[in-house]
Symmetry: T
Subunit: 141 residues, 12 copies
């Protein structure tokens, strides 16, 4: 089973900025943990981080024939990107939305996700471990 892991805007700063909100684990460390965990369970993972909405869309299009699952942390595009939503709906790969922080406890504009309705589901507030739970879910299928 092939899983595409997409990290949205500002996640390249993970572990280096605002650790009280996002924790102290860097993005590379997260990817390594996911890679290892995936390897143990016969999942092949690819990773991409971009601050560009269009690049995230391009990436989804690119894996349409390769991936059987997508894990996406859309960052700020969660709340504003109809285009990304349309991309998820179009490629029709089972997708899980992950948020490191508990967005429900933050600003009002973070309380609505444009993407969630076209995803399988959402995991938020679980720290970087949220990615691991998402990967675990694919294992359980």
């Amino acid at each position: 089973m092939n899983i595409m892991v997409l990290h949205g805007p500002n996640l390249n700063l993970l572990g280096r900025r605002e650790p009280d909100i996002y924790g102290a684990t860097t993005l590379d460390e997260v990817n390594t943990k996911l890679m290892e965990y995936g390897a143990q369970h016969r999942l092949s993972c690819r990773f991409l981080q971009s601050n560009h909405e269009g690049a995230l869309i391009d990436a989804l299009h690119d894996v349409v024939d390769w991936a059987q699952g997508v894990i996406i942390n859309p960052g700020g595009y969660t709340h504003t990107s109809v285009a990304l939503r349309d991309a998820i709906a179009a490629v029709a790969i089972p997708t899980i939305e992950v948020h490191i922080s508990n967005v429900a406890a933050r600003e009002p504009f973070r309380q609505h996700s444009l993407l969630a309705p076209v995803c399988v589901g959402t995991i938020s507030g679980m720290g970087w471990q949220g990615y691991l739970l998402a990967l675990h879910w694919f294992v359980l299928q």
Copy 2:
């Protein structure tokens, strides 16, 4: 580590009604799986299902000195119960909100959770496996 698993209104019907939304696994089967999984990872689990908002609050109060974690599927009370929210905040046990279906893809009134801001986080749309992911998170701590 002790985990209280609270099932809110109508979850006693799990697996027997509306399987297209909630799946075909019964509540007893879910609890058994969680019990077994917990046992493998040194977690002690208790379970309660109630259709009564007050009974769910009572249950939270009752485990305040026993539990180190709570997993709650508040069902319809997710969107309407300030009292339950206050109970979660008051007992101050790390709590994970779980929804079997992807509430973000359903009616507008299901898109806002009164409880999520006082929980650690939320897992929704992952089927009964969502409970398992929540339990897994406690294992990872």
Copy 3:
């Protein structure tokens, strides 16, 4: 044909309090009239009044294998109970929502019913006779 008649919060006061809004017929008198009318038309009726949201949900679950119809006056829970709505949808028994007073002519918060969309329909403003019309509808089926 078996009909469950559910009276929600404060309806135990019917006929004894606020007669200008709710009329002077008591709940026992209403139930008696429905019983008699039902008996004349081969309908078997059961009755339950409760001020507890959870008890109303329990009652719906309890009659899932007995009733072919439900008549419910959800009182104040009409406007606030997602849990009761979910119960009606889950048991999937044809249900008629009845209001004694014309809720459309009262406070704004009474103008929206969370339950109506999962019921067959609604009868409001017809006084206690509204229950009789609902029963009559089941006779006509």
Copy 4:
């Protein structure tokens, strides 16, 4: 007792269009059933269908000295006609609003009735039998 039955816009198509929403009984058949039922209970009924808001208002004015009751299915004017509401309030004949389909389960703009607050009450979702229930209510007075 004299009853005016007013059918609003598009109800002339009843039974011939969108039977999944409105059923297969034609307007003439409904009127015939009401006429017969009325005749059995000493109610004299008149009927009018119009697609013109103004014609429905005219009709209400015209029966002010004849009718002791009005049954109106205002169709799409339910949600948009202050003028029709004012007419019902002005003629001050007890009026019952009837909807064949369960409007609460349809589009958001159908969830609010401008007319209901000045009517005795509302019956919706009961199919063509809703008219019969309304007539039955007048019999019960």
Copy 5:
């Protein structure tokens, strides 16, 4: 003069949880103070705490012939319970709504009370002494 004092959900935790919001005086201590103060001024007080919306409604119904006044801290039901509002309106005993914390300075959903319009008035933010002020008001009548 007989006064019913109703404590809503989570108030059993008073003085033991979140003292920065609700203070360090326990519910028993509050009740004792009220009892003593009442005794000095010829008021007879009864007390009830419940986390169940229905139990609070039942309690109001039960004292309809005994109490000349009600003091209620509805906790989280303040903002969500039409059923409790209807109960207060129905029993028609002069009722004062009390909040320990200054709800106006908290979350937006706490800024509107469904109950206040059917009460005599509201006292909020005065700590446990708010109950005493409410009792004092009955003395002044």
Copy 6:
């Protein structure tokens, strides 16, 4: 100077229905007073009452070459008719909106006029004399 006086829906009932809101002077009496007052000040008046939105629009179109002023009481169409607004804007005759009752003190849906922005101005709450004031304004020009 030629003035068209348009009376909207239900105004044919003026003086005969709801006198507490609209007064006891009939529409004929109002028209007579306006005719006389106009005659004294070299204004020629025509009058039309209709319950049909389309008929009011037709009437505006018909007087486009005759009238130098329009006085309109749009009744319930005030709040709902974009078509009538467009007609007033299209014919571009100075138009005064008149309401007999003080609409600002009535239901919320009466507090916004779709027509007022394309009129010269509005006179409301002045009773039938509001028409006279409107006529007086044309005299003052």
Copy 7:
């Protein structure tokens, strides 16, 4: 009959600023015209202009035993002053709200008057002649 004419904020600039909105007649000229017109019809008029909300309230209180009518152009306080509204309601002198410009055709925040519901009615968009129409209305009583 004694009439108090109150001019609110910025009306001292009338005729000297923004003539395209408010015309070229100065406030003194308006007052002179009203004085003369009043004198012809046995109305005694007093005038006050102030930019201070409190001063307008004081003025209403001061004439409570002298005036039988009030004409007020509340300017910007129309949309923001609950205090002025309360003053009009308290003194209970028949009051007419006048606006020189057609406020319905201006910014959205000008489309709602806090004062109008406690006035007899409103005249807007009629230029300075609106004051004259208001005075004329008192003559007609």
Copy 8:
């Protein structure tokens, strides 16, 4: 292929009023152009203009067995007529909504069409040529 072209309120003034918004071509000229264009492409067109909402509904009902397509410019009824929407949905003839001006650039109340969701689609802002494009679309089918 038979096409019904319906022109709504005020379109009889086309080309004669407000040419800056609606252009200088008259309705007769538009109809002539459409007729000719239709004739060249084997489309038979009928035309109707009315200021009456009810008449537009009647017209739709009348062509239910004749027309294979409808082109409608609903004018002001676009934003207010649930009844017309219901008629379009009921007759179930492919319908194109046309607006001469770019309604998206006008007042807020013109930005939402009640009819568009039950039409095939919408063409707006293209001048009278919008009708021609609509006709062209039917040719392309």
Copy 9:
């Protein structure tokens, strides 16, 4: 302990106007009762009434070094004055907001207080005795 008592707009009319809403006790009588009650409990009270928002702000500034408590009935400024709110926050003297009537049972615009979030708390609906309860609270500190 020094207490400043501030009465906002229209309270000079207390006891003389609208006694059904505000009671029959005059402001002087209220102040006398508070003075006497304060004297019995070692509280020194000063009083000010003004219809001017600015004067109330000035008064708060003036007592910043004298008062240990403020009791304010802001009248209509409750709902509209950010400036008064800022003054209360700036002087940082414990302040209690008092309303004679039960504002929660009145017009919608009275249901939100801009000042309450920066006050200790609010007492409303308790009649003039509300002031006494506020004073009593300072005694209890």
Copy 10:
């Protein structure tokens, strides 16, 4: 006449994904048809598809001196891109917004276009033929 045709996000998938919504014609096929149609009518067309908001803006800037017309299907950016709107307004080339599906019949967030007010007009719901109609409009100028 030179026409720039801009295809927004996800339109590269046209004809290959979600054919029930967007049809089975691919983007290349659409462009070919437009090219051919343009060639027949002396229009020179260029084409660009991008998933990047910034690239669409860049493209508009790039053709400012070449194009006399723009046809844009902004996809998901229709509802979220103020930057794209500003670009259209800045380059001031007549622009037509095209949507393949009938956006008015889809999710609420698709019902408002930020771009339409600065375009000539909009064509939606006409399938890929909508592009052709837009091109046809330029021919008609």
Copy 11:
């Protein structure tokens, strides 16, 4: 060039209250700095602070023939004063709105300025230096 500097409500407390929000520089010190800076650049400055909305309006009227620029910190009146907005628009002197704190980062009711649309522009969050920047802008003209 003459510049009027207007300080609104509570700014007399500047530097003495809430220094974490507004800084530790007093109003006198700010005015001195502005005076000195102005003197260096040929600007003549006058200063006024008032807690009275009306006094700020009066001040604007008073300088209409003297000032070529106005710098105003309207404090709490920013969000509530239509009257002050009208004054700024009426005197038509180029006006800059200054806020010491970053109002965008504070309560929701501070996020909208009624005055800004009639000012040249706004400077907020720059501390007392914001006044200096405003003065600097006038120098740059």
Copy 12:
């Protein structure tokens, strides 16, 4: 002190398009003026303009170790970019938001900035000189 100056979408057109809104000075000219002014005050400035939201985020990330201040004109992304807001918050460099035009006087969607709450403050409506004022503020620190 190092200052990064970021120009958002469409600002490359500055001085060449819509000069009535944005003035006639080109972006190069602005940058030159800032460079010179900075050089005079020991500020080192870098400049970047991009129409790509992602590129602006990348740029912020890139200067995290170089810049002590950021001046950003986010153009249309001001109102729509949560991702850009998150970037500003993450890099935690003091940032000033600049708008050339007075956005408060433009369309409603321009009246709310997602970025302002995480910036030091905002300068808008001051023309290209707004950049200079922002630079000046850094000099004053």
